[in-house]
C-alpha cells in the first residue's frame, strides 16, 4: 500500500495504480480510457491524490501515461481539472507534477505538453 493509502483502480479497459517513489508518489495509467464518463472513476481518484498529497506535504507526483493507449476528451478534462486544483493552492502548499509520456503514441505527443501551461513551473513533462 502506498503512503496515501489509495487502492488501485481497475475498470473496463483501464488500470490505475498509485505507488510510492523516492520523493513522492506515482500514478500509473495502463490500457484505454474510452468509457463514456471517465470522470466517475478519475475525479474521486484525483481528489484523493490531491488531498492526500497536500495533507502529507508530499513534494511531487509522477503521472505516468506511457502505457495509456487511448484517452478520450472527457478523460483529459478530468486530468486538467486535477491540475487546475494545484493552481488554486497557496504557494507553500503547491506540489510538483511530472508527466511521463510515450513519444511513440502520437496523441500523447500532441496533447500532454499542453497540460504544462495550466500551472507553469509546477507541471513538467518528460
Amino acid at each position: 500500500m502506498n503512503k496515501l493509502g489509495i487502492d488501485s483502480v481497475i475498470q473496463d479497459k483501464i488500470k490505475i495504480e498509485v505507488s510510492d517513489t523516492a520523493t513522492g508518489v506515482m500514478v500509473k495509467f495502463t490500457g484505454d480510457i474510452d468509457m463514456e464518463d471517465p470522470s466517475i472513476v478519475l475525479d474521486p481518484l484525483f481528489e484523493k491524490v490531491h488531498s492526500g498529497v497536500v495533507a502529507k506535504k508530499v513534494p511531487d507526483v509522477v503521472a505516468d501515461f506511457q502505457a495509456l493507449n487511448f484517452l478520450n476528451s472527457s478523460g483529459i478534462k478530468a486530468v486538467a481539472k486535477w491540475i487546475m486544483k494545484l493552481a488554486m493552492l497557496p504557494a507553500d502548499q503547491k506540489y510538483a507534477i511530472k508527466i511521463t509520456h510515450n513519444k511513440a503514441i502520437t496523441w500523447q505527443v500532441t496533447s500532454l505538453p499542453t497540460l504544462t501551461f495550466l500551472v507553469p513551473g509546477a507541471v513538467k513533462i518528460e
Binding site: 476528451s73 500532441t110 496533447s111 499542453t114
Partner: protein, 365 residues
C-alpha cells in the same frame, strides 16, 4: 433660554423704570435733584443693558475686529484657517452676582469656557466644502469603478469568445478526426482487398505451374506416340505389301502426334506468358499492398495527432470555462459593490446635509 433671557431683560428694564418713578415721586429731594437723580439712574440702566446686549450677541475674539452688536446682522465670512480654540470668561463684572442683581445672576448662564473654534457658520461652510470634496471623490471613484467594470466586462466577453473559438476548434478537430477515421477505415478495406488479390494471384500462379507440368506430361506422351509411329512405319515396311495399310495408319498417327506437339508448344508458350503476367500483377499488388499499409500507419498517426489536438482544445475549454465563470462572478460583484457604495455614500451625504442644516438653524438662532 433666549426667550427667558429676553423676559428677564424686560423685567429688569421695568424694574429700573419703576425705580426711577419711585425716586421721582417719593424721594424727598428738590425737583432739580430729582431730575438729576432720574437721569443718572436712567444712564446706568442704559449702560447696563447696552453692555448686556453686546456680551450676549457678540463674543469678541482676540486679535480680530469687533463685529456689530446687532443680533440679526448677517454672519461675516469665516476666515481661513480655522483659529486655535481659545477660551474667555464671559461674565462682565457689572453683572456679577456680587454686584447686586441676584435675580439676574440666577438667570445668567453659569460661567463657561467657550470654545472660540466652534463657529456654527464656519462649520456649516466647512461641511459644505467637505460634502463637495466627497462628491468629487465619489464621482472619481464611480468613474474608476465603472471603467474597471468595463474592463472586467471586456475580459468576460473575450473569455467567452475564446471559449466559443475553442469550442469551434474542438468540433473542427473532431470532424477531422472522424474523417481520418473513415479514410483509415477505407484504406483498411483497400489493404484487405489487395491482400486477398495477392493471395489469389499467388494461387493462380501455382495453378499455371500445374498446367505447365501437365503440358510437359502431355508433351512426353506425344513424343512417345511419335516414336511409336516411327516404329510402326518400320514394321509396316518390313511387312511389305501387307504392311502398306498399317504404314498409312502409322503415318497418320505420326502426323497427329506432331500436331499435338505443336499445340502443346503453343499452350506452353501461352502458359509461360500467363505466368509472366501473373508475376507482374503479383509484384504490383504487393507494392500497392505495402504502400497502403504505410498510408494506413500514417493515417493512424494523423488520427492520433488530431485526437491530441482535440484533447489540447479540451484543456483550453476547461480553462476558458473557469475563467468565464470567474470573470462573470467578478462583474456581478463589481456591480453589487458599486450599488452598495452608492447607497452608503448617498446615506452619508444625506446625514451630512442634515447636520449642515441643523448647524445653520442653530447659527440663525
Amino acid at each position: 433660554m433666549k426667550q427667558r433671557t429676553n423676559q428677564v431683560d424686560f423685567l429688569a428694564f421695568l424694574a429700573g423704570l419703576l425705580l426711577v418713578f419711585s425716586l421721582l415721586v417719593f424721594t424727598p429731594v428738590p425737583e432739580a435733584g430729582k431730575i438729576v437723580l432720574a437721569a443718572v439712574v436712567i444712564s446706568v440702566i442704559y449702560v447696563v443693558f447696552a453692555f448686556r446686549l453686546k456680551v450676549r450677541f457678540e463674543i469678541p475674539r482676540r486679535g480680530e475686529p469687533q463685529d456689530t452688536l446687532e443680533p440679526d446682522a448677517p454672519a461675516q465670512p469665516a476666515p481661513e484657517p480655522l483659529p486655535v480654540a481659545e477660551t474667555v470668561t464671559v461674565l462682565p463684572a457689572a453683572l456679577h452676582p456680587e454686584a447686586g442683581d441676584a435675580e439676574l445672576a440666577d438667570f445668567e448662564s453659569p460661567v463657561e469656557e467657550l470654545d472660540l473654534a466652534f463657529d456654527p457658520g464656519e462649520l456649516s461652510h466647512r461641511l459644505a466644502e467637505f460634502k463637495t470634496r466627497i462628491n468629487e471623490s465619489i464621482v472619481h471613484s464611480n468613474l474608476a469603478l465603472a471603467e474597471f467594470k468595463v474592463g472586467s466586462d471586456f475580459i468576460f466577453e473575450n473569455v467567452g469568445r475564446t471559449f466559443d473559438i475553442s469550442d469551434n476548434l474542438a468540433n473542427t478537430a473532431k470532424q477531422a478526426f472522424e474523417m481520418s477515421e473513415k479514410v483509415q477505415s477505407g484504406v483498411g478495406i483497400v489493404t484487405g482487398a489487395l491482400t486477398e488479390s495477392l493471395k489469389n494471384t499467388g494461387l493462380l500462379f501455382e495453378q499455371s505451374k500445374k498446367i505447365s507440368m501437365i503440358l510437359d506430361l502431355m508433351s512426353d506422351i506425344s513424343e512417345k506416340i511419335h516414336v511409336l509411329s516411327i516404329n510402326a512405319s518400320i514394321v509396316s515396311a518390313r511387312a511389305g505389301q501387307q504392311g502398306k495399310a498399317f504404314e498409312v495408319v502409322a503415318k497418320e498417327i505420326r502426323n497427329l502426334a506432331k500436331e499435338t506437339e505443336n499445340s502443346l508448344a503453343d499452350i506452353e508458350n501461352t502458359i509461360t506468358e500467363l505466368q509472366g503476367t501473373i508475376g507482374g500483377v503479383i509484384s504490383r499488388v504487393k507494392t500497392a499492398h505495402d504502400e497502403t499499409e504505410l498510408e494506413k500507419n500514417a493515417l493512424m498517426s494523423v488520427a492520433g495527432a488530431l485526437q491530441g489536438v482535440i484533447l489540447a482544445v479540451e484543456i483550453i475549454r476547461a480553462v476558458s470555462s473557469l475563467a468565464k465563470e470567474k470573470s462573470q462572478e467578478q462583474s456581478v460583484n463589481l456591480s453589487r459593490i458599486i450599488e452598495q457604495e452608492k447607497s452608503v455614500l448617498d446615506q452619508s451625504l444625506g446625514e451630512l446635509d442634515s447636520l449642515r442644516q441643523a448647524l445653520e438653524s442653530n447659527k440663525k438662532e
